[in-house]
Amino acid sequence: MHVNTAPRRDPAWTGRVFALLATLVVVWPMLVLTEFKPWTLFSPESLPPTLHFLGDFFPPKLEPDFLRLVLFETWRTVAMATAGMTLALFLAIPMALLASRTLSISALTGRMALAPAVFRQGVRWLLMLLRSVPELIWALIFVRVVGLGPTSGVLAIALTYAGMLGKVYAEILESGDALPTQALLRNGAGRLQAFFYGQLPQSSSELTSYTVYRWECAIRSSAVLGFVGAGGLGQQMDASMKMFNGSEVATMLLMFMGLVWLADQVSRLLREALA
């Protein structure tokens, strides 16, 4: 009688080897498609400029004039995000109200009538269209039309974030308790009254905390928008990178990380204060 029937090898061994081989078969075409040749990083053409650029990082450039410029651009980054968010709110709030199914009067009797249902779906599609184009692409388009500068950045943030905020606002409003709103509507209150007295009180903290979170995201993305010419920290960083000026890039990267950290803290504090 065998006492020790346990296999000497790991029983899952063959399966794992097979999975590894299958992965390699899938990964190979990807490596070809992405021209994945990491050794080109260390070729004699690209290594010296890289090292020179990185060596230039220390020390970061800290001259008063340059620091003032960087601080100004950082403020412009925050301002772009704030202005973009404000415009986005002006677009998103009405559209969220138009899209919200709980504010439908015909739905009180059961099914929503055809025309309002189609209209609400249309608003939803418009919101989807707005947010399905990334803000960077909007910025690229607006830079062609309006020219370089923060106007394109503000518009880009406004459009994409209107799409996101409108959709999420509508969802938050619909996920709340529908009874107070329906009671108001049944008793002859207008839709706006039903919104202000039925829906807003129960979901206001959720709405504000999502808005603050999105504002934080907008700051991060407005810093990046500059790379296509939409002003702010990104545009300055792009210019310094094109001139291989490592010390300027280092200062701005540090500044950018500080800004992201600060926005993170402020947004956390605000959300805690409003909760």
Binding site: F36, A79, L136, M241, M257, V260
Partner: protein
């Protein structure tokens, strides 16, 4: 007292908004001028007539595949690097000295706080134009994100199995392979898939600075004012994003059932 705190908060917000609009000197006049509106109208009209030549569509298909490959490979690399960095960044049991925890967490934070696009622009210097820079940029940013999420997963899972092995004197590497990793694997995979979804969207855009994929094509044709081609690329980009959104929605629905 609380009411007043809210008043001050609102006042501060109002000041911030006003200061933003005033200091930016936004050129609404230029934006709403007849010329700009005209060019906007022309632009939209041109956007509605995409180039649908078969040869061009095939090029777009290849660029979309390149975008997908960039995102998949970047995420895979990031999962590997993130796992390697998560181990020193996690204090996996109470007696773990975790000497490198602070340093690795700092590194992860730096990797994470620089957006993909900035990494791509930095990498252009050493990797040159093309998808390699984009892939590495995605990998760097995502490894910061995944490393942190992975480290938190390792710290938050039940200690039983690992403790049992450790008490029997099993080597730490084997404890990791046979207790920590299998336990955390489903969570790690779901984080990785979630980041992959994000990265497909990011990869489509990354190319705008010259880092390959659909974005590079878009920037190229837009730079030459070839609007028909630009329009096709834009539509392809939106379809790709919609496809990914739809697939992830369906997967989530089917997993919840």
């Amino acid at each position: 007292m609380r009411r007043c705190k809210l008043c001050w908060l609102n006042l501060g917000l109002l000041m911030l908004v006003l200061a933003s609009f005033i200091s930016l000197d936004l050129q609404w006049g230029k934006f709403l001028s007849g010329q700009a509106l005209g060019s906007m109208g022309r632009f939209v009209k041109e956007l509605l007539t995409p180039n649908t030549e078969l040869a061009f569509l095939r090029k777009i298909l290849w660029a979309s595949l390149e975008t997908l490959a960039m995102s998949a490979l970047g995420t895979a690399l990031a999962a590997a690097v993130g796992l390697a960095l998560a181990l020193p960044a996690a204090k996996s049991h109470p007696n773990d000295p975790a000497r490198w925890r602070g340093a690795t967490r700092l590194l992860l934070n730096v990797l994470r706080s620089i957006p993909e696009l900035v990494w791509a622009a930095l990498l252009l210097i050493s990797a040159g134009l093309g998808p390699l820079a984009g892939t590495l940029a995605l990998a760097l940013h995502t490894s910061g994100v995944l490393g942190r999420l992975f480290a938190e997963t390792f710290e938050n899972q039940p200690q039983g199995p690992a403790e049992a092995l450790r008490l029997r004197g099993v080597r730490p590497a084997l404890v990791f392979c046979y207790a920590d990793l299998p336990q955390a694997l489903p969570q790690l995979v779901s984080y990785t898939l979630y980041r992959w979804e994000n990265n497909i969207r990011a990869a489509a855009v990354l190319g705008v600075v010259g880092a390959g994929g659909l974005g590079q094509m878009l920037a190229f044709h837009m730079g030459l004012f070839q609007m028909m081609e630009t329009s096709s690329v834009l539509i392809a980009m939106m379809l790709l994003v919609a496809l990914v959104d739809g697939l992830s929605y369906l997967t989530r629905i089917s997993l919840q059932r």
